[in-house]
Amino acid sequence: MAFARFFASRLLQAVPVLLGVTLVVFVLIHLVPGDPAQTALGARATPDAVDALHSQWGLDQPLHEQYLLFMERLLGGDLGTSLRFGQSAGDLIAARLPVTLWLIAYAAVLACLFAVPLALWAASRPAALRDRVVRVISVVGLGVPGFWLGLVLIEVVSVNWLLLPAAGVEPGLLGHLESLFLPSLTIAAGMTPLIVRSLRTEVLRVTESDFVTTARAKGLTPHQIRMRHLLRNALAPSVTVLTVNVSFLIGGTLVIERVFGLGGLGDLMLTGIDARDFPLVQAVTLVLAVLVVIVNILGDLAQALIDPRVEVQ
């Protein structure tokens, strides 16, 4: 019951943010210098075609009417029509979404596999050699550009060692796991330093708490304390750290998809940009922002399930 109430109030909190997101996406088209319809169609477009696009996008109406129209279509599930593909943007996105979601989940899992042991290892002896090694790894790792690391990995692993596919997505679960490994690894490499830092701080905080002192006083070995008490209590903060960085994760996906030619949402957005396809770019931007909001809600829920002390602020 308490959980249901938590869920409801968390959803309610998201409503104004989602409204704001739609407003920002709506305003985007009005930031285009000059006439967006003219820009989209090119200099040689006939005035009739420009007029037709004006009325299709509702640009001939007052601003607040336009927003209401935009929202009305949106709530009816209409994300607009792509100029480049002449198709509903919603359908295009639905077809590309699975690859992007795969990539995000895969990268998050890999990042945790690297970050959690590193953070625990570093936090087990603060200021000792191992702590400094982990610190150096994360300081160096922060500055490496993902798109470049991706290219280097393709060259070394795929071209030289002939180990993994260099581009594209193979069908099936195993095919996905194999062909998305390098792109996910690239994204995970960028995320790991961020997660390690926050997680190390969190674990140290837990280490200094009373229940760990109690466990130590009871005579548990450091290993037992780490496995039974620290790890479990470090789980909640790692979920937080992951959700805080999800926006970084999704942004990274966008660029890495282009490097590995994966044809997900990022690729769709960049194709839309090349074609000056405003409705498509708006739709992808909106969907990705909504994705961040959803992941944040899920993160908070997971948090509440792990740690009964969590409450909505």
Binding site: G20, V24, A127, V140, F147, S247, R258, V284, L288, A289
Partner: protein
């Protein structure tokens, strides 16, 4: 035995241990800072002296001498697919990328701290509006909103700085707001208020001075991300318009030649890594110093 050792840890020994740990970490912080400042200083100096260090023209094409390997006479790092000198282009690219990064860090820092300070101090409706806007911008993945804005506003250096500012002022605003809210009920602020100082003076002279260290530290770690964003935009073809050199664009141009002429993509990539490393060392040093206090 175990009792006596645990007792001694709580007393003088613990104090000594804490002090020596603090000293050790402060030495680490100084080292991080020094190396970071040295890296960034050398890169900035090289960027400023680009014309002196390498007299070649960064955009003049020389097709007959294209794709020369590093070590070629007159081209220490070789030439690209259009015969342009790679070292020269990297130096001019440093000028572009570091200049854009400075603008794209300082502007959001100034705007974000100003807005956040006012929101935190005023509270009420101002605070609620600012917090609402901040939450909405935070909902967008940074890179996605950045790409959308650069696309919408059109290419160019001013666009990139404006786009980064629109996206990243919110982090500073949130940070400054939280700091000021904690600060505003402190005795020294109340004393300043009672003595009749105008709000602008309280905010500017007293509160700002006490909170500014944290946003500045954050700005240094933000700068690492900004460098990566700018070069990623260049890589995607949305950055500084050609033929002006930028590390990201250089890597994108080198992509088809990676297998045969790897150095074309590797050198600019290493330059980005070096800039990133320098900035993140500075950020690391500053935050260690901040934590030690």
């Amino acid at each position: 035995m175990s009792i006596s050792s645990s007792l001694s840890r709580t007393g003088v020994a613990a104090w000594y241990e804490r002090r020596s740990r603090r000293r050790r970490s402060s030495r680490g912080a100084d080292a991080s800072l020094a190396i970071g400042v040295a890296i960034i200083g050398i890169m900035m100096l090289a960027a400023l002296l680009a014309g002196v260090l390498s007299p070649a023209d960064p955009i003049r094409q020389d097709i007959p001498n294209a794709l020369a390997p590093p070590g070629t006479d007159g081209h220490p790092l070789g030439t690209d697919a259009l015969g342009r000198d790679v070292l020269t282009r990297m130096l001019y690219a440093a000028r572009t990328d570091l200049f854009v990064a400075v603008g794209a860090v300082l502007l959001p820092l100034a705007i974000g701290v100003a807005v956040g300070t006012i929101a935190g101090y005023r509270g009420g409706i101002v605070d609620r509006v600012v917090t609402g806007v901040v939450n909405v911008v935070f909902a967008f993945p940074v890179m996605v909103l950045l790409i959308a804005l650069v696309f919408i506003l059109g290419p160019g250096i001013p666009t990139i700085i404006v786009a980064v500012t629109l996206v990243s002022w919110v982090s500073y605003a949130r940070l400054a707001r939280d700091l000021v809210r904690r600060e505003r009920s402190m005795d020294y602020v109340l004393a300043a208020k009672v003595s009749g100082l105008p709000t602008r003076r309280i905010l500017g002279r007293h509160i700002l001075r006490n909170i500014i260290a944290q946003p500045v530290t954050f700005a240094m770690s933000d700068a690492v991300a900004i460098i990566l964003f700018i070069t990623a935009l260049g890589f995607l073809g949305l950055g500084v318009p050609p033929p002006a050199p930028d590390w990201g664009t250089m890597i994108a141009d080198a992509q088809p030649y990676f297998t045969t002429h790897w150095w074309l993509a590797v050198f600019p990539g290493l330059a980005i890594c070096a800039a990133g490393l320098g900035l993140s060392l500075i950020a690391d040093g500053l935050s260690q110093k901040w934590n030690a206090q």
